[in-house]
Structures are given as C-alpha cells and as structure tokens.
C-alpha cells in the first residue's frame, strides 16, 4: 500500500471526526452539572459514600468497595501481564555474554559518588512514604496502586545503583511472579472470608472481625485495607518481575 494513501486515509478520518464535532452536538459541555455522566449513579456514590463505606476518599470507596469485583480482575490482569512477560522471554538466550546476575554493575558507579549516596538516602524515605500512602488510602489521596508502584521504585533505585552489603536483596523474576500471585491471593481471600460468616463474595458487613469494632460500618475499613494491601503486593511484584526480565536480557558493555 502506498504511504501517501495511508496518510490520506488518516487525514480524511480525522477531518470527518472533527467536522462531526463541529456540526453535531452529542457530547455534553465540559463542566455541566446536569449532564448525563454526572447524574444518576454518581450522585448516589457521592452522597452515600461516607455512610456506606466509612471512606472519605470517594475514589477509593468506588474502587475498593462499590466496584471491588472489577478491581479484582484488574489485579488479575496485572498478574497475567507479569506471567506473560516471563513466558515470552523464558527461553535460553542465544548470545551469552557474561553470566546471569553479573550485570548489576558491581563497582561501577551509577552517577558518581554524590548521586549514589543521595539515592541511597532517598530509598528509606520512599518506602516510608509508600506505607503512608497505603494506610491513608481511604482517608486522603492514594491507595494500593500508588503504594505498590512507589515500593517498586524503591526496589528499582536499589537495583540500579551499585549494591552495598545492606541492600534490599535481589529478587529473581520467578520469585517476583510468585509475590504478585500472593497479592491476588490476598485479594481473593478477603473476598471469600465473608462467605464463612453468612455473607456474599466481598460483602464486608459479614467479615469475621466483628469482635474488634463496635459499629458494623467499621468493618468496611478493615476490608478496604486488606484489599489495598493485596493490590500493593501484586503491583509491586509485577513491576519487579517485568524489570528483572527486561534487565536480564540487557548487556551493559560500556
């Protein structure tokens, strides 16, 4: 096919879409309070989130409580992405230059002495911040996904700078995939737990922790925290998994 023809087709499609927007009037104006996406269900979510789920952050309430079933399978998608990466690159390398795990730059500095030391100072701060984000996920901004990504960034920095004796350790990619699967297991187990107490799947009112709290609504906080912990573990494991798989095939020759 001709390259000019492809470009022409794309320009025509873009022109039709733009003309459609100029002519037609089928999307609501931005900022309209009474538009269709801002009515119906979202009004219920906003007005009843605190009463139903005891979570002031409505995004976490929708994500982990009202739509917890969605998030379960999104977590599964992350786990499957990590496993797929492992399976695609699991065969033996054709060109073997240097043995495995010898490419972690022992003795080679990442960005000079000052930068390396700065990164080492940053790592514990990032880990503490990740746990803060995890535990305050339902009160303020944050949640499981962000906390997992922050923990993975801490591991990533530790992996890329030359390692001291007290580093965070080296995961193999299989171990990282197992950790990600453990996160999915925590999530699904939190879902199954109310079923022993006479509830449905992911129905937090029937979690068997009623002796800890006086009000039945507080059980939602327990359930949301367990779910966020599972999501954190899964996201952290998957990101480390992909990082290790890609890093294993890379040759640092210079």
């Amino acid at each position: 096919m001709d390259k000019v023809k492809v470009i022409g087709v794309i320009v025509i499609i873009a022109g039709v879409i733009t003309a459609g927007f100029v002519m037609g009037d089928f999307l609501p104006a931005i900022g309209d309070i009474n538009s269709a996406p801002n009515g119906y269900l979202s009004v219920y979510y906003i007005t009843n989130a605190l009463h139903d789920t005891e979570a002031p952050n409505m995004v976490t309430a929708v994500l982990a409580d009202y739509r917890g079933f969605d998030t379960l399978f999104e977590t599964c998608v992350m786990f499957l992405a990590g496993v797929t990466t492992l399976m695609v690159l699991s065969s033996k390398r054709k060109v073997v230059k240097g043995k495995r795990n010898e490419h972690d730059l022992n003795g080679v500095s990442f960005g000079g002495t000052v930068l390396d030391t700065g990164f080492r100072i940053i790592i514990p701060v990032i880990v503490i911040y990740a746990f803060y984000v995890l535990s305050h996920g339902e009160i303020s901004l944050g949640g499981g996904f962000q906390a997992g990504a922050l923990l993975a960034i801490a591991y990533m920095i530790d992996r890329l700078i030359p390692s001291f004796q007290n580093s965070l350790g080296n995961f193999t990619e299989e171990a990282a995939a197992i950790i990600a699967g453990l996160g999915v297991f925590i999530y699904a187990f939190t879902g199954v737990l109310p079923m022993f107490n006479g509830g449905y799947f992911l129905e937090y009112d029937h979690l068997p922790f009623a002796f800890m709290t006086e009000e039945i609504v507080m059980l939602h906080s327990v359930g949301i925290f367990m779910i966020e912990a599972g999501v954190t573990v899964c996201v952290m494991g998957t990101i480390i998994n992909i990082l290790e798989v890609v890093l294993e095939r890379t040759e640092f020759d210079d």
């Binding site: 104006a29 309070i33 989130a49 409505m58 998608v77 390398r93």
Partner: protein, 126 residues
C-alpha cells in the same frame, strides 16, 4: 470575546484537541517503522483516551472528590466514577507496555533488528 471563546472550548474545542491527540497516536502507530516508537505512540493514544474520560466527570466549581465536613451536596464534588475507572486503566497500561517490551526484545533476538522494513523485506513504494 473571551467568553465566547471559553464557551466554544467547553462545548467543542477540548474534545477536538483530545481527538487530534488520539489521531496522532494512531498515526504514529501506523506510520512509524520502528517498533519502539509504536509502543510509545500507543502510550500517547492511551493518555488521550484517559483524558477524554476524565473530562466527562468535570463540574464547574467542584472540588476534589474527598469529603469535606461542611460540603454535603453532590454538586460540590467532581464525579469520582471516571477517576476510579481510569486509575486502573493507567496501571494496566504499564502491564501492556511490559508485555510489548518483552515481545520487542524477542523480535530483536530472532531477527536482529526492530525495523519493520527490514523484517518484512518490503519497502514503501515511492
């Protein structure tokens, strides 16, 4: 004058710019011969689609969807539903990027190159 321009932007302009961005992403995925650039253009297209969803939840004069004590009515808060959906979409896009990079490195191992022209052996007709 400025009011008319703002009303045009709110009704049509932002959507048009978002769709131009999405079109640029698709254009790059079709035209670029390098597989690495195709992945980056896919990410650009995802950003455009996520932004399109987020604009649907916007409200004039609304605050962030975190509960404040003296604000109770639903008109005071931005719609939290698209945020919750797009939050997972961004994280899943990272998984897609990882799988695409794994396939890219496998192609590099087998063929020795990641240029589409050299792999298929065909060239665009002049």
């Amino acid at each position: 004058m400025i009011d008319v321009f703002e009303i045009f932007l709110a009704e049509k302009g932002i959507y048009m710019l978002t769709f131009i961005l999405m079109g640029l992403g698709i254009f790059g995925m079709i035209v670029c011969g390098n597989y690495m650039k195709k992945i980056i253009c896919m990410n650009i297209m995802q950003v455009a689609i996520i932004f399109f969803f987020l604009t649907l939840g916007q409200k004039d004069g609304g605050t962030l969807p975190v509960l404040v004590h003296n604000l109770t009515s639903a008109e005071e808060y931005i719609n939290p539903l698209p945020h919750a959906l797009m939050l997972t979409a961004i994280v899943v896009s990272l998984g897609t990027t990882g799988v695409a990079l794994a396939l890219l490195m496998k192609i590099k191992e087998i063929y020795g190159t990641i240029e589409e022209e050299e792999i298929t052996g065909k060239r665009w007709k002049k």
